[in-house]
């Protein structure tokens, strides 16, 4: 295999952002070399490859560097055009998928993870925002097996963290956001998503996630309040 075909992914085992890139690569059947980064002790390689954000995931392909998970997902879809096509073909559906991916990140993910580690009034505030965001997601998935329709797609990969990271955050933070009675469609989607053969075999171990997020919670709740921008 020629070296310029090599695909390398810098990631972190507990990061939902690097995991979604792995899901996309595996769904497309693209071989890659995974490099685990210690994000608490960043390597010179990471700092060299992503000097702007200094974060994972970073994809290196043909010695070209791409960072930011949603940018990487689109790059993967445009470079490896084989099935499954992650983004919809229709421009309006594509715009919707991009919109909901952004919504999931900016509204639901920030509020959920924030609700996990914060305390008191701030916890209540973020929990309320997370549930409000979840209501909108529920409307969007109703009547569909996947966000992509009949098969897994970009938006499923983008929102996939809901199926696995969210329950961990709920446990760590003693909160409930994805109530199966209130959100039956999302709950059902989450089950389908986790059962997908590619996804099932590509999840970080839950028994490691729980203590990890407990530690992170302790750290974030020790910071002065008001830094979370939501």
């Amino acid at each position: 295999m020629a070296s310029e075909d090599t695909v390398k992914l810098l990631g972190f085992w507990a990061s939902p952002f690097s995991r979604r890139v792995e899901w996309a690569l595996k769904l497309k059947g693209v071989d890659y070399e995974y490099v685990e980064e210690d994000i608490f002790n960043k390597s010179s390689l990471l700092l060299e490859l992503n000097p702007v954000h200094k974060k994972v995931p970073v994809l290196v392909h043909h010695q070209k560097v791409i960072s930011e998970s949603y940018v990487i997902l689109e790059y993967i879809d445009e470079t490896w055009k084989q099935s499954p096509l992650l983004l919809p073909q229709d421009p309006h559906e594509r715009a919707k998928a991009r919109f909901w991916a952004r919504f999931g990140e900016e509204k639901l993910l920030l509020a959920s993870s924030g609700a996990m580690w914060s305390l008191g009034e701030e916890k209540e505030r973020l929990l309320k925002l997370a549930i409000e965001a979840m209501e909108k997601i529920e409307e969007e998935i109703k009547g569909k097996e996947f966000f992509g329709g009949e098969s897994i797609g970009y938006l499923d990969v983008a929102l996939g963290w809901i199926s696995y990271w969210l329950p961990v955050w709920e446990e760590v933070g003693s909160i409930q956001i994805l109530d199966p009675l209130t959100f039956p469609a999302t709950t059902s989607w989450a089950k389908n998503f986790l059962n997908h053969p590619i996804i099932k075999d590509n999840l970080p171990p839950r028994q490691k996630m729980i203590p990890y997020f407990h530690e992170r919670s302790k750290f974030f709740s020790s910071l002065p309040p008001g830094w979370i921008k939501i």
Binding site: V52, H53, H61, H62, K64, I66, S67, E68, Y70, V71, I72, E74, Y75, E78, T79, P91, H92, R94, A95, R98, F99, R102, F103, K136
Partner: protein, 217 residues
């Protein structure tokens, strides 16, 4: 069937301006509907029930929301002329990265702090503001546009914020030309384009409006 296009926007929105520039670049006709954000219209609430924000482009009755998502949509539908994004996937990824970087940095919010706060908070805002533009300047390098030889996606994303440079410079007494000369040269180059010149408001008018908006002198 003729395309029916409606843009829900406010004339002062730098996000809305991105869409207007994109439409002008492609030579697309549309109906503009000025929105009153203090009393949101039924149409806006229906077309963007999630965020209730402008801009919203309505194409044959279907809404598209979020300025950069709309710009990409326009590029994909009217793909026979003036492409905003390059065809190479890596170049496209770079363009998306930089437009996203700029939006993540929330230049509007930082700029607002720059003009409405004092002391340490203002100094921090100024530092952050200049760092954002210096990073973009490094990315621009010697290219005429962020898109290379042609005006493109990143140029559209950034240029609308140029209309506030005079505000920042006058109120905070610094010169963008001295701090980021390539950015200013780039902006002036963009202003030579009809789509940009016709969309961006006069900087002195923006200044007057900002003074009123924030009750400044």
């Amino acid at each position: 069937m003729a395309d029916e296009l409606v843009l829900l926007d406010t004339c002062v929105s730098m996000f809305g301006m991105r869409v207007r520039i994109a439409l002008a670049e492609k030579g697309i006709k549309y109906e503009y509907k000025e929105q009153d954000l203090t009393n949101k219209s039924e149409l806006l609430l229906k077309m963007n029930s999630i965020n209730k924000k402008i801009p919203v482009l309505i194409h044959n009755g279907k809404p598209i929301c979020e300025s950069l998502i709309i710009v990409q949509y326009i590029d994909e539908v009217w793909n026979d002329r003036s492409p905003f994004l390059p065809s190479d996937p890596y170049q496209r990824a770079q363009a998306r990265f930089w437009a996203d970087f700029f939006d993540q940095k929330a230049v509007y919010a930082v700029g607002k702090k720059l003009v409405t706060t004092k002391g340490e908070e203002q100094e921090a805002a100024k530092k952050e503001f200049l760092e954002i533009y210096k990073t973009m300047e490094r990315e621009l390098g010697e290219k005429p546009y962020f898109g290379g030889e042609k005006f493109g996606y990143v140029d559209i994303a950034l240029i609308t914020f140029y209309s506030w440079f005079y505000v920042y410079e006058t109120l905070e007494k610094f010169s963008m030309e001295a701090e980021c000369p390539k950015i200013v040269a780039w902006a002036k180059r963009c202003m030579q384009k009809e789509s940009v010149a016709k969309t961006l408001p006069d900087q002195k008018k923006v200044y007057k409006r900002v003074l009123e908006l924030y009750g400044l002198k």
